[in-house]
Symmetry: C2
């Protein structure tokens, strides 16, 4: 088994976020599930965009956000995901490459445009997402290169990847390639509705392939169909090798067999936009993990990264947190 | 002369801003004139983009920013400018239309892509711009509809419009159409280097066609080739009917013949990004002007709008200032 050249490779839906503020009434009028990620077709995406206020375009995609965050913490990341050969595809590729992230997935030459996620931020800083997958729907096992996968210590996959038809297979092949190469596999559950769509698949995957699971409280409860957080935590401690569970302002809990670590949330002066909080928690956690830090330190790095991203609009960090993490002895 | 249906129609380069933070060393290395707007060709734009860090895409263009700001103050605006039929053109059109701005200019079907302005913001909040005009270069007199022009109380033109080859002619025809319709003509000098490029043209225009001139201190000094601000102010008082001159933290001075008004800058807790300060000053000023406010009130509205935009990244307002302006008795 060779020395890994990358810390983490993310696999996910390659999307550009179209970010706009709105009032709650807008969500009601447009029948958007508040706080959730809803898949929409192109016609709905265009219609909704027509009704939205002025927006800002920022590269997004859950796993891609995580890898961008990892790079800003000083980690070496790669990303696998599908964009088209269009202007938004250029934007997505630029924003990863400019952080030193390896991004080699072949662009979709014919077919849908680069996918977009219409992110509506309400005055309470909650984000509600309507995703048109576009080119991301064409990610397939052909895009998974076993050698590339095995070049990273850990692969990180987003649960949202279960939505595009061929990506699930790509997902399994990537997990296989990682384990064959002696690497580790991590998964984010992404969204409670996503868990509802793929509960048996996720449960099976967690029991058989996942070394590190990321979930928030709602997703974990959805996974085990319980309202009892402690019961869900006990269940995941049984099924997953390591599970890092975020609980918003209550911080996070990491379970690994009989071990359990409770780590506080990082204080934030004003929460502006919660988009990407989970993505950046995973970025911090994996940065610590690939640097051999203990699980409590990994969680503290996760809290630090999540706090930065919720203090401004957009799901990608604006600040390089490496220096701060080092000053605190976390890196 | 019919009742105008619009308050202001802006004519300018239709651009999408590609906004990124950088250190001063980056400007030096890339030989970018700090604080200026430099025109670049496509190859240079692509090369520079390759070297830039992660960016955010936001609709821009000086006059378009002004019209967007006017709309957010409750004004009724229109915009004339050229984008291509591409994704960034869609973004530009959406962001104006979603504010209720009339934007009917035919898109460029064949030719360059929608123009981009690469905006680099240094830690001192100064912005340095490299503009690839793209489709904006094709704006021509054919895009000026005399009836549309005469439907607005005031037309607002950016000095940057002197760069594309046919736009200067469009500019004169628009001024003519406005005056024929009994409307007023305003002009922003845009940039000191732009003044250097077109000094005689601007001087002639101001003496013959311009009812309201917007300039900052550096642009005014460049226009009259003097380092003496008072001399430049005396000169413009002689040449222009009304001139509103911005002086950053020193506020602004409005001269109209023998009248002179000095209006303070609006305090800002932290200046984050000065991009669009002049554009929003003009938005506030013209909003007041078209509502029949006196010149000092117009300038105070300009200060209010400029202060909002320099407190965050990007050249378009994030906040609707109408309520605040009304509460202060400015509208």
């Amino acid at each position: 088994m060779s020395i890994p050249t990358l810390d983490v490779i993310g696999i996910g839906n390659a999307l550009v976020d179209v970010l706009s503020r709105c009032e709650d009434e807008f969500l009601t009028r447009e029948q958007i599930d508040k706080g959730a990620m809803t898949l929409v077709d192109e016609a709905r995406a265009l219609g909704l965009y027509d009704h939205m206020g002025p927006a800002t375009e920022i590269s997004g995609g859950s796993a891609a956000n995580t890898i961008a965050g990892l790079a800003l913490l000083g980690g070496k990341g790669g990303f696998i995901g599908k964009v088209a050969g269009d202007q938004l595809g250029d934007v997505f590729a630029h924003d990863l490459k400019s952080l030193g992230v390896q991004f080699q997935t072949e662009r979709l030459a014919r077919g849908p445009a680069t996918g977009r996620c219409l992110v509506l931020v309400t005055p309470d800083a909650q984000r509600s997402m309507s995703t048109y997958l576009g080119a991301a729907v064409e990610l397939s096992p052909n895009d998974i290169d076993a050698v590339e996968i095995a070049s990273a210590q850990v692969i990180y996959m987003e649960g949202y990847l279960f939505d595009p038809p061929h990506a699930q297979q790509a997902f399994y092949e990537a997990a296989q390639a990682a384990h064959d190469g002696g690497r580790q596999v991590s998964l984010s559950l992404s969204d409670a509705f996503c868990v509802e769509r793929y509960r048996p698949e996720f449960r099976h995957l967690i029991e058989t392939e996942v070394d590190i699971l990321f979930a928030n409280e709602a997703e974990l409860k959805a996974l085990y169909q319980t309202d009892d957080f402690d019961a869900a935590l006990a269940a995941v401690a049984r099924d997953a090798k390591i599970a890092a569970v975020t609980r918003s302002e209550k911080g996070s809990v990491v379970v690994a067999g009989a071990e359990q670590y409770h780590v506080a949330a990082e204080p934030v002066a004003q929460v502006i936009d919660t988009t990407g909080a989970g993505d950046q928690y995973a970025a911090g956690f994996l940065m610590g993990f690939t640097r051999g830090k203990d699980l409590a330190q990994c969680a503290a790095l996760g809290s630090l990264a999540a706090a930065e991203v919720i203090a401004h609009m957009g799901a990608r960090p604006e600040k390089n947190l490496k220096t701060e993490a080092e000053a605190r002895g976390l890196l």
